[in-house]
């Protein structure tokens, strides 16, 4: 309940935040090369203050692993996990359909087509530290949502059911092109398939710098209208009679969710299940009020993706699994467990 249990929600968010920090720090030490917490601490100390106690020696390799490989990777996992979870929660609410996931309206297929075209054609354009693949993926995702929106438009309103179906149809159509390209991709096949499975192996600071504003903008924008999203769950007409313009909000939510998904997919490929499962877990625990669901999903998604990615890069070290495999392998059974427990677990 919104009113009586405000403190419980704040407490829950604080717990999640603490858990996120712990996961962040803990996962930094894990990997092909195991690093002690003390060493990591000194690396940060050196980075921040420029000096460490004289008796501490930090190897250049360790410094490089932490600062240029693991730190951006962990941050990217957090951002992508948060972005996908928030987009999933938003689209589930917008479509009033618990089966919706961030990829349901075709953004991922568009992004995949963009990325595949870039990989297969060997495109080499670059911009602000970005290769052709993320740029094309980002553009592909946003173009797709624009197409889906205009296809489902009837006069000046967009029925969500049409939007959903148009999204699925356009997604299937674009996926066919992706398959076609893969079929003819020859020696680049592996690269395309690997990209599509999703992974954070390519994480770098430059990606983070560009992704961060989109993720903050998308999440912030959706959170700004979280109360309206609640009202939309009672139906658009009811939302309207509560003083909300559903058409305007649909546009806002779609654009914001698409930004989040495109940003995530273009840098990390198509990571499944996080965006579907995380909002459900939070909803099962604490109800569907978006004012709480959105921040909690963001934190929870970040924690889960960092965890899954850490597992992905340690489980068969020094090689690594695509993180999408881990999220699906762990997410699906956990989700089923929660569904079966459903009645007993809403705490507040």
């Amino acid at each position: 309940m919104i009113i009586a249990h405000g403190w419980q929600r704040r407490f829950f968010l604080l717990v999640l935040l603490a858990l996120l920090l712990f996961t962040l720090v803990y996962s930094l030490g894990l990997g092909a090369v195991s690093l002690g917490r003390r060493e990591i601490f000194y690396i940060f100390l050196e980075r921040v203050t420029g000096a460490v106690p004289a008796d501490v020696a930090i190897s250049a390799a360790s410094r490089d692993i932490i600062l240029n490989i693991r730190l951006p990777r962990v941050f990217q996992a957090a951002l992508v996990g948060a972005a996908l979870s928030v987009a999933g929660a938003t689209l589930q609410g917008l479509f009033r359909n618990p089966l919706a996931d961030p990829y349901i309206i075709g953004v991922s297929s568009g992004a995949a087509l963009g990325a595949t075209v870039a990989i297969v054609s060997g495109l080499t354009l670059g911009f602000a530290g970005f290769g052709a693949v993320p740029i094309m993926a980002f553009a592909g995702g946003l173009l797709t949502i624009a197409l889906v929106y205009h296809l489902s438009r009837q006069g000046n309103h967009v029925p969500v059911m049409t939007l959903l179906l148009a999204g699925i149809a356009v997604g299937a159509f674009l996926s066919a092109f992706v398959s076609l390209l893969i079929f003819f991709s020859g020696e680049r096949l592996h690269q395309v398939v690997f990209w599509m499975m999703g992974g954070l192996g390519g994480a770098r600071w430059s990606y983070l710098r560009v992704m961060l504003p989109y993720v903050l903008l998308g999440c912030g924008c959706i959170y700004f209208f979280s109360r309206e999203l609640n009202a939309m769950l009672l139906g658009e007409d009811t939302a309207h009679t509560l003083g909300i313009d559903p058409e305007k909000l649909k546009k806002i939510f779609l654009v914001a969710a698409s930004l989040l998904v495109s940003a995530a997919v273009s840098t990390s490929g198509i990571i499944g299940f996080i965006g579907l499962v995380v909002p459900h877990i939070v909803r099962l625990l604490a109800g569907p009020d978006h004012r709480f669901l959105l921040p909690a999903s963001a934190l929870c998604g970040a924690i889960m993706l960092i965890g899954a990615d850490t597992l992905a890069r340690t489980i068969i070290a020094p090689a690594e699994l695509p993180v999408g495999i881990i999220t699906a392998l762990l997410g699906a059974p956990f989700f089923l467990y929660l569904l079966r427990q459903r009645k007993k677990i809403r705490y507040f």
Partner: protein
């Protein structure tokens, strides 16, 4: 609280090429309780949707408290107009309190938490609608009636001046329908909330509303008090059916009865003449069964207020009409004797006898003749219906002694009549015996289908 709350002038609404409302003009005073009636597709929902700004008028103007509705910001409208739709499907696991609290959204600034006043309003809305005990329950698991109460509580939390109800009872059981409309009535009386409700059940509407707007074919056919709107003519025009409008004896509000089969009866060979004595509630099922079986009984003598009289007049049966609250005078007694003599069968229903109608029983005794069947229908023994200190029982005895037949159940009485009409079909033995003693049966012609009880 007098003043015009809502004014609708020359309102026309088009959906593409389809016209949903055509030049509708009316105004609703503050604090009134208006029922919006009319057949499906007449424009009831479109009108409510336009008032709540879900639809845009193609032409015409709406004024809310004297202000042009189209120029008021949506959020401001939602602070004075709340809507309860037909049904709200909520698939997400909100608690009842959370849903009711959504009614405060129009009053809250962005990111503003519900304050003490809001919480009081939410608690009060739940209390009025009787859902306080459900506060922490999930709306997903509520019954239809409970969910509709949650929705009205949410609407109340908006603190509306106008409450629009769009067929709010359409999916509810009869007990919840009444409960819901009583709640609406209470809100109207105690808080002066103007209520405009689209209702398809005319009798429910008549029971709870004192002002009517009848829409037909996207226009207003009639508006005003129930007596002005709910007329047989208006109902015929709007719904294309015949109806009888009466006062309900229990609450005195208008009651509309749709006439089955438009008063026509199966065509068939002539049936023997039947006369039914007396009236009252108990007579009506008997008369109805006789009509079903193809007879056209005569009835009487009865006063105009009698249910048997209403039935007889409606079905154009011969009836002796007494002046209101009068006993059977000599002249009416003579008329009654005539009517009995014309009949081949006289039926005495299971009605009470008092000093006012004892004379009818005397008439039976007086007019009884050997060629006539007298059937006493005794659902309850006459001793329990005798309010003349035993006089009715004595008359019954005498009538029985002169060859009258007694039936305890309506279906036996009907099968006796059928038996008389069609002697070939086997029937209970006692009827055969009765038949033998009634020579009148020779001129009875076999009838069509008779549906006995």
């Amino acid at each position: 609280m007098v003043g015009v709350n809502l004014q609708v002038l020359d309102l026309t609404v088009n959906y593409g090429a389809y016209t949903a409302l055509d030049a509708v003009t009316f105004s609703v005073e503050k604090g009134s309780c208006v029922a919006l009636i009319g057949p499906n597709g007449a424009g009831k929902s479109s009108l409510l949707r336009t008032v709540s700004r879900l639809l845009k008028p193609s032409r015409g103007l709406l004024y809310l408290d004297g202000r042009d509705l189209q120029k008021i910001p949506l959020r401001e409208i939602s602070r004075s107009v709340a809507v309860v739709p037909q049904d709200t499907a909520i698939d997400f696991d909100f608690s009842v309190e959370e849903v009711v609290a959504m009614g405060r959204y129009p009053h809250l600034q962005r990111f503003q938490k519900e304050g003490r006043k809001d919480r009081e309003i939410i608690a009060e809305a739940m209390q009025i609608t009787g859902i306080t005990h459900l506060a922490s329950r999930s709306v997903v698991n509520l019954s239809g009636g409970e969910r509709q109460r949650v929705i009205i509580a949410r609407a109340l939390a908006q603190e509306p001046e106008i409450l629009l109800l769009d067929e709010p009872t359409a999916n509810l059981d009869i007990n919840y329908q009444v409960e819901f409309l009583e709640l609406a009535r209470t809100l109207n009386r105690e808080r002066g909330v103007t209520i405009i409700a689209a209702i398809h059940d005319l009798n429910l509407a008549a029971q709870f509303f004192d002002c009517f707007i009848l829409l037909n074919d996207r226009k207003i056919l009639s508006l005003g008090r129930p007596e002005e709107v709910l007329t047989p003519q208006n109902i015929r025009i709007a719904y294309g059916m015949e109806a009888v409008v009466q006062r309900n004896p229990l609450h005195g509000k208008l009651h509309i009865t749709v006439i089955k089969g438009n008063g026509t009866h199966p065509e068939g060979p002539a049936r023997p003449g039947i006369h039914v004595i007396g009236g009252g509630e108990e007579t009506v099922p008997l008369l109805d069964a006789l009509l079903e079986a193809g007879y056209r009984p005569s009835v009487g003598p009865l006063t105009r207020e009698d249910s048997g009289h209403r039935f007889a007049v409606y079905h154009a049966l011969r009836v002796i009409t007494l002046p209101p609250f009068s006993p059977v005078s000599d002249s009416f007694h003579r008329q009654h004797l005539e009517l009995i003599k014309e009949a081949q069968v006289v039926v005495v229903p299971s009605i009470p006898f008092g000093m006012g109608n004892l004379r009818n029983l005397e008439a039976v005794q007086e007019a009884m003749s050997p060629g006539m069947s007298v059937l006493l229908f005794e659902e309850t023994p006459v001793a329990q219906r005798d309010y003349c200190g035993g006089k009715a029982q004595l008359l019954y005895e005498s009538i029985k002694n002169r060859g009258a037949l007694v039936f305890r159940e309506l279906k036996d009485l009907l099968s006796f009549l059928r038996e008389q009409a069609n002697p070939a079909s086997p029937g209970p033995v006692y009827i055969r015996k009765a038949l033998l003693s009634h020579k009148a049966s020779h001129n009875l012609i076999s009838g069509g289908n008779c549906n006995a009880g």
